[in-house]
Symmetry: C3
Subunit: 252 residues, 3 copies
């Protein structure tokens, strides 16, 4: 009874996600489906890779993650299946699975057209390919039936932490709903860092909780993703400091 | 174990949808519920009719669609049940079911107050009527118990394609999350059209996939709904060209 | 098979809610989960208390409401469990449960760390504490195992209705998706009120349905929550009249 988790950039305005669920339940009426997230900004592979990395470890064993952020839909890009010893994944071959904390160890190229809907559109492979393939995997289809094994999927490099004269420099990966700017800096990266700086402004040493800072003051702390986050207690860091993914963050 | 699919304009800000689910599960604890879409713009019957038309064919047999976009709530408008040989539907009698690809073949007026919640509000029949009636249908209530058969529900006309001197003229039905402008023009309508034009700008002949055009260039192609769509690869057609539902699209 | 209902301010942009579901289903794979609402404005306890008050009565017996609007996350604020004879609840001890129509009659402080995830973050107790505790309650854990009974949780006072020279004065509690301004004024409060006024403008006597007023005219009526609402038929009252929670409403 493992669940199928859906991660897309389809949003909630339209019926794209529901249509995928309709297809899945038409084939596998008892499959439990969880919405991982559908508000990935259109075609934003980094945001999708980050969300998947963050949420995946908390899902039940054998969960199947169906990830459809797919700027290349309708082109000759491949669709791939992978498993990392804990969960299995379907995604376009575009790097979306690159940031998993436990890397994929076996890949297949999904090519068996007998598993797809009979008529393929050029724009909605979530419905026509991903959904029916997911339903069939849930029903027990052996992954070998999907298509040939493959070795080298496309990789989306995880942003590197650089050494600087006085410490390390990372960057913002993602802005969450609360306006927290989540960086690529782990505990191990920053060691005994005394001061986190963004755009020349010092946020002091990383705190262990919001309550250590007054309301409205910016701070840095290690968030639930395991990475250093820049926040303002009870307010929106990103709006106030015009922070965006890719902006640099320094630790000294 | 067919699912109940909910289509509303209730949005996700409030607890309206959850309250409907609470009522359904209070009566039918095992009913599977799928959110078709709740972000229909308030009272936008055309958007609702379009979403239902597009998603419905992909749902499991016997699915019950509960559609609550209801500008007339609290007035004397009827609530109707229908079935099209594949699925069944509940909706206000306002044309919401008019655009189904497979038309309704039997209608009933939902009038049996014994099936409703005991106390009716003037503003939330989704909770007070639609949800308990849906739960009871799911549990096996024969549709004849809902109320009398009826013949002539209100019809929302599907926009017509007009013949022009040099070809055909359609209109935009719907703008999706990605900014694609979906028209009412089918393959059959446009035949061997050589050029699609919007506001005097030619988008060329319909393409078969996004990848045939450069990033940032507008194009026309047949989308997943089966209709011609106006798009910009990796960008937002509607914002860039100020496209809105009702705008004309010419094919020559 | 009672459901677990989730009420948070986590929004739908990120994977916070999905991560909670992953944790719940990892421990209790068959637990039905309903999204009550996740679009509570960040840290807005009044909006959360209002939504919970409004939706709760419609949920199946024994439903477990997991409410995570938690400005004090990571501080020493308590997490509490309560039951009101109909449903049970988990929430931070911040007043979120204060507005229930049927008050909580037994409380416990959730302190048994053996029920939490092994490693606690400072910022996401929804994942680390609320989700695993909810799963264990669903599986049958006796509430006495959560932690000691307690007497006096923090209370969020429900806004009072004041008597004025000519009638009563209430305030706006909540603006819903349609722009309706929901007040704290019940039928009993306003008695035979002849005229509802907002910012000096009279909306006349409360109506019993939208259809009694022309399109575009403001009106007052008793909405589905049982409170007086200020509305514009087929339009957005709050935008048009700049109404916000806390604004006064007079009845004479």
């Amino acid at each position: 009874m493992f669940p199928i988790a859906l991660l897309t950039d389809f949003g909630s305005r339209d019926s794209f996600v529901a249509t995928m669920k309709g297809v899945i339940l038409s084939l596998a009426p008892k499959a439990p489906i969880i919405d991982l997230c559908h508000e990935i900004p259109p075609q934003d592979l980094r945001a999708a890779a980050f969300q998947l990395r963050t949420a995946e470890p908390y899902f039940p064993p054998a969960s199947l993650f169906v990830c459809v952020v797919d700027p290349g839909v309708g082109s000759r890009r491949k669709i791939i299946w992978g498993e990392n010893g804990r969960h299995q994944f379907l995604a376009p071959d575009n790097g979306l699975l690159s940031w998993l904390q436990r890397p994929i160890r076996r890949w297949r190229s999904v090519e068996n057209k007998g598993l797809f809907l009979p008529k393929l559109s050029a724009t909605f492979h979530g419905r026509d390919i991903f959904a029916p393939v997911a339903a069939r995997l849930w029903l027990g289809l052996p992954p070998a039936r999907l298509g040939p094994a493959m070795d080298r999927p496309i990789v989306l490099p995880f942003p590197k932490v650089e050494a600087t004269a006085k410490g390390v420099r990372g960057e913002i990966l993602y802005i969450d709903r609360f306006g927290n700017a989540i960086t690529n800096l782990s505990h191990a990266d920053i060691g005994d860092c005394r001061s986190v700086a963004f755009r020349g402004k010092s946020l002091g040493a990383p705190r262990s909780q919001y309550a250590q800072t007054e309301r409205g003051r910016p701070l840095a702390l290690f968030g639930s993703s395991g990475f250093l986050e820049l926040s303002v207690r009870d307010s929106h860091f990103a709006k106030r400091f015009h922070a965006r993914p890719g902006n640099r963050v320094d630790c000294r």
